[in-house]
Assembly symmetry: C2
Homo-oligomer: 379 residues x 2
Amino acid sequence: MNMAPDTHSKTARRPARRIAVEEGFTLPEIWTAARRVLGGHLGEEPGEAFVFGLTAPAPRSGRAGPPPWLAVLTDLDDRRLADMDASGIDLQLLLLASPGVQIFDAGEARELAMLANDRLASAIARHPTRFAGLAAIPPQDPVFAAAELERAVRTLGLRGAVINSHTGGEYLDGERFEPILDTAERLDVPIYIHPRAPSPAMVAPYLDQGLVGAIWGYAVEVGLHALRLIFSGTLDRHPRLRLVIGHMGEGIPFFLDRIDTHHGYGGGWGHRSRPLQRRPSEYFREHFCITTSGMNWAPALRLAIDTLGIERVLFAADYPFEDTKAAVERISAFALSDSERAAIEADNASRVFRLPAVACPDIPGSRAESQDTATDGRA
Amino acid sequence: MNMAPDTHSKTARRPARRIAVEEGFTLPEIWTAARRVLGGHLGEEPGEAFVFGLTAPAPRSGRAGPPPWLAVLTDLDDRRLADMDASGIDLQLLLLASPGVQIFDAGEARELAMLANDRLASAIARHPTRFAGLAAIPPQDPVFAAAELERAVRTLGLRGAVINSHTGGEYLDGERFEPILDTAERLDVPIYIHPRAPSPAMVAPYLDQGLVGAIWGYAVEVGLHALRLIFSGTLDRHPRLRLVIGHMGEGIPFFLDRIDTHHGYGGGWGHRSRPLQRRPSEYFREHFCITTSGMNWAPALRLAIDTLGIERVLFAADYPFEDTKAAVERISAFALSDSERAAIEADNASRVFRLPAVACPDIPGSRAESQDTATDGRA
């Protein structure tokens, strides 16, 4: 497939390489297990099937067969590569779709996590220039999760871990999760905190007006999770822990100044929080990177870059849950210098996830081919 | 007091008039009643005393006397006017401090709301060019609340109502609150949805790491409230209802595009919400104005103006909970044309709340005096 550089958008500007870092997949085995665990809560939409967990609203249909989207989410070969080519994505950083293995009991979660990681590593071995991935780990068993993270990184070549926010209502500032954070810190790999529906202790007011999912509840859930890691002092205990959150920082960049102000008020006018070694925004800027998944929208991107710095913002499309072509069109239309564009669309991802920097001349439709001819579009 | 135009900031640009629209007050009687109702939950900080309600953490001190901040919050004369003069505020739109009368039983709430409104009207009568106000109403008794809103507007000259988000865990999309919305719509006055701590059904995960208040929980609470009004179809039933929210829109402007996208996905990939007559962002842009209270921060202000339009953004300082001088310095340093500055700092407020447009030559330290000499600073 000989792909012209700008088929994805007439206004597109093309970096040498485009990496998307929050791209979903699952295994048929995990879908089947989720269907069994979620039971009547599992409808035909992935929002219910894979994200809402046990807090899902009642399903709209009771049909028994696999839903049509399953083929998209489980493909790690031709169909996915064709979609990547069509939308102009050189490399996907793959994450087991939310809620990962976090809805299963610990024993099943351990088995499914290992299966997912092995299967992901195989897909990467088949397509080493097109895929990289993060490990699925079961926080239900923190010691095993830490060991599986180490195996996934050292043996399988995965680039960190994805954790789909709360596990049974608990957040990573809980003491029992320390082995996971210790190991991520020691291996110097990031943990990507991906959304799921708000935790059981706060989900109720989001359910009845349809606000539980990506439309609002996901950001509420992960925004809280990230701030808990700062305000609990967890990052004081883990000064080298690296974290990634999607959806343009789940709202935190917009509030970064207000958060600092009110932490500065300390026990005075307004709230009580523990003393920290630094301002909250310093933890956020130094420990977190954010991705543009589902939020490739100019006003929010502008704020994120201005607030965090270009080196902290990574492109993501959130395939197949969002429209990847639209995401590429939007990031391409956003005014950036060549070096800024390279940072957001590839170089930051390569640095944060230590991705191989090679081009991919042997892959049909690869950017190594279109790179030269794209020069005009990048002026 | 002869106030030089730029004493509040060397870089300040001075509009002809500066109005702040989310400025707090309370009555000693309401503080006493809150102390009785909240009991051991009432500490020395207003964050606990007036905002956290029954979900407050344990108080830090058990002392019995009135706290020092009470004098600031209850003053509606010289002390407040001196603070306004010192920080460059011509007119405060006053709101009974959160959680208003919403923590009391209906009978007491009715009495205290009327008392607060009468007392507020008296203060405005004493200082008609410096104060305007919104009515406190008890949503616990919606029929009374609607009648009190009408009395406050028609008889007392108040400019709308303030409602401190949830009442007993219920939001304004609940059917029983229809009389309030009907009346606000009929009178064509706005309802200001002001924060309080997240509702009981979702507050738990915000309590243990000190995130319940202005630092994060308030935005979570009001952001949800505003979206519930859109997604419940409430605004389809009330096409002329006007709403105001503070803190730069409580995060909604940052997510406006994502909200539209996922509503567009409808019952498909992700969530289920009811059909609406328009896109969610259209309801937000047409029904809501936002204020800069506690968020006079350039990146967020830029996003809000770009996203909503200059006519939807109103200056607020959130006196005395925030640093009013700092708020004025920040808005003054923000690059705006003279007409944009006039819109944000005064004209939008005058339009939204139908404030008197008169200057105030008889008030010592008034801007009518400094207006002329400020011309240089506005170049």
